[in-house]
């Protein structure tokens, strides 16, 4: 076979090599004389090692030296061992001098050189992995005029989070921000303030503490992912431009226990006075008010609990057109009726699972208790209802009954899609038949689709005359797969 690379000039070969991890690219040096140094002119460098071996250090030194003063685009260092700062810092300073625009550092126990934070060229900065990356008081000044994307995980900000505010204020064009496990539950307050920000992911893994105070001043934010214990207070929540939000707020175990027991007390004393002031276990009212302009909303099951126990009054979500709700057998649906009533323009409602804990709030949306008031479903504007059934359909058929209940109550329903991660085809037919057997449905006409791995059944309700069997339509099934992962 002819050497096709004869026709490609060196810069093109270097570009090809830039798609490979640096280690692999360097191994091409032995292919032929022409290839000996080509890997060194690649402008994307990434080094990954689990120990600081002499040969690794030599290799990185060599590659950087071979590059001379040529500009570098991307530098990534992933190191699972504890590095010697005297080895690593010169590397970082070298690439900063050479105008690096993308820097990724995943090292443990390493004080970040202040030079990183005054780079005129950095557009993307990713710091994290392991623990002990620290942003110390040595960083006197932050000026990152080109930084558009910032991802920080497990970075320790000395001075109680003051460094964090300093960092954000030095990023005048920041568009995407990912914050993970920064320990803000120990700070006096955590404020995410960035006027140019469009995308924010704010994530803290499960722990026992509530952050003292969390604020968001991000008027141009369009996309939000927020997963944390609820804060004790939310002084400022400015999300004027929010389009899509994924919220996973949690009560701590203590709070959850308190909420549960106060609920039981009420139940015991049969209090009919709904206006009686309950002392809330936490107050997230401001936060929910702040996101009330959102168009697409995903709520985790625990967020439903927060809405039920930590919100003075459910705000009105005027622009909400799509709502996805996760369900869990430990969490009640108390907050759902109030929420649905306050979504006047909701078009699509998605349930991930249909199970819930039986509480005194039941009976408005679900079948657990006989209905006291007209169901919130009867006045719902929802046109499309999508239900992702749990893998194991409960044996007593409650989920099916619940779906039938939706059909009987929702007057504007045009499409009902039930997803079933079930490859036992007869049960797909079973479910479809059961749903078709609903004698009267609230809307004039509704398309029913039951989709599983290999099968898709369509029919029109109430008249079950039109039936279609087919392989799952690609788009819908892909959507389903994404939704369940």
């Amino acid at each position: 076979m002819e050497d096709m690379f004869n026709r490609l000039p060196n810069p093109l070969i270097s570009h090809i090599l830039s798609f490979l991890p640096t280690k692999e690219a360097a191994s091409t040096s032995v292919l032929s004389k022409r290839w000996r140094l080509l890997f060194a002119s690649v402008t994307n460098l990434d080094f990954e090692s689990d120990e600081e071996s002499p040969s690794f250090v030599e290799f990185v030194n060599r590659v950087l030296a071979l590059g001379g003063n040529d500009s570098i685009n991307r530098f990534s260092l992933i190191f699972t061992d504890y590095p010697d700062p005297d080895t690593v810092t010169p590397w970082i300073l070298n690439v900063l001098r050479r105008g690096v625009s993308e820097l990724e550092l995943s090292v443990s126990d390493y004080p970040l050189p202040p030079e990183i934070f005054v780079s005129k060229t950095l557009a993307k900065l990713k710091l994290g992995g392991g623990d002990g990356l620290s942003f110390s008081t040595d960083v006197k000044k932050v000026s990152l005029p080109k930084l558009k994307t910032l991802e920080i995980e497990s970075v320790v900000f000395e001075e109680d989070g003051v460094g964090f505010a300093k960092l954000l204020s030095g990023c005048p064009v920041l568009e995407e921000l990912v914050l993970m496990n920064l320990g803000w539950e120990h700070w006096k307050s955590c404020s995410v303030s960035a006027k140019t920000l469009r995308k924010l992911k704010f994530f803290c893994e499960d722990n026992d503490e509530n952050p003292k105070s969390v604020s968001f001043d991000t008027p141009n934010l369009e996309y939000l992912e927020y997963s944390d214990n609820i804060a004790k207070k939310y002084p400022r929540v400015k999300f004027r431009s929010l389009v899509e939000a994924h919220i996973s707020l949690r009560l701590t175990e203590d709070q959850s226990a308190d909420a549960g027991s106060s609920e039981e007390d009420e139940y015991l004393f049969e209090s009919d006075d709904d206006d009686e002031e309950k002392e809330m276990v936490g107050n997230a009212t401001n936060f929910f008010k702040g996101i009330c302009n959102v168009q697409i909303l995903y709520l985790s099951a625990k967020t439903l609990e927060v809405l039920a126990f930590c919100c003075e009054a459910t705000p009105v979500f005027n622009n909400l057109i799509q709502l996805t709700v996760e369900s869990d057998e430990e969490i009640g649906w108390d907050s759902l009726p109030g929420l649905l009533k306050n979504c006047p323009n909701l078009e699509t409602l998605v349930f991930k699972g249909l199970v819930h804990k039986s509480t005194k709030g039941c009976g408005n949306m679900c079948l657990c208790k006989p209905l006291k008031n007209p169901s919130c479903l009867s006045s719902s504007a929802v046109k499309v209802l999508k239900i992702i059934l749990s893998v194991h359909i409960d044996d007593d058929g409650m989920e099916e009954e619940q779906i039938k209940h939706f059909l009987e109550k929702m007057p504007r329903l045009e499409q009902l899609v039930v997803y079933f991660n079930e490859s036992y085809e007869p049960s797909v037919f079973e479910l479809s038949k059961k749903l078709q057997s609903v004698p009267t449905i609230a809307s004039p006409k509704c398309n029913l689709q039951v989709i599983s791995q290999k099968l898709s059944l369509s029919s029109t309700l109430p008249c079950a005359l039109t039936k279609k069997w087919s392989a799952p339509p690609n788009k819908e099934y892909t959507w389903f797969l994404k939704a369940v992962t």
Partner: protein
């Protein structure tokens, strides 16, 4: 709305009629929109076989690139799948030609797609012997020189 059509002529005389949206994907060809409507525009270093593939790629990328980049990515996924199938079914020789053409015409998406394909071929090889065999490279190192190279980049060969 009538679209303006443009005629591209490959080095071996094949004619391709394409619309403005296709032309604009090539930074090199974009300026011709101003003055070449109706006339044949020769592309002297790209053969018909390759130009055909370039046009096919651009046509498929018109719909997506014109739309807004929202976070809904089902159409993005479909396009990525198309890209994967498009580039994987080609033999390496065609891929090289495509790299040269995309480089000359400055079509970044296609250029990166083709380069990634070659990088994937290299990554799939077990060792440098296999890379040489796959890419048709003949080594001109002496035994000593080769040993030197293996030593100077020792960590890369672990």
């Amino acid at each position: 709305m009538t679209k303006e059509m443009f005629t591209l002529k490959s080095s071996d005389g094949f004619l391709f009629v394409v619309d403005e949206a296709v032309v604009h994907q090539s930074v090199t060809l974009s300026p011709m929109v101003q003055d070449c409507a109706g006339r044949e525009y020769p592309i002297n270093n790209v053969t018909g076989k390759i130009l055909n593939l370039v046009v096919e790629y651009c046509k498929n990328h018109v719909v997506v690139d014109g739309g807004d980049s929202s976070s809904s990515s089902s159409s993005g996924d479909a396009l990525k799948k198309w890209d994967d199938e498009f580039i994987t079914q080609m033999d390496l020789s065609t891929v090289y030609d495509l790299i040269m053409a995309a480089n000359y015409l400055i079509i970044k998406g296609l250029f990166d797609l083709a380069c990634q394909r070659v990088a994937d071929e290299i990554a799939a090889c077990k060792d440098h012997e296999e890379i040489r065999a796959t890419l048709g490279i003949v080594s001109d190192y002496t035994a000593e020189e080769e040993a030197e190279v293996l030593k100077e980049n020792e960590w890369a060969f672990d």
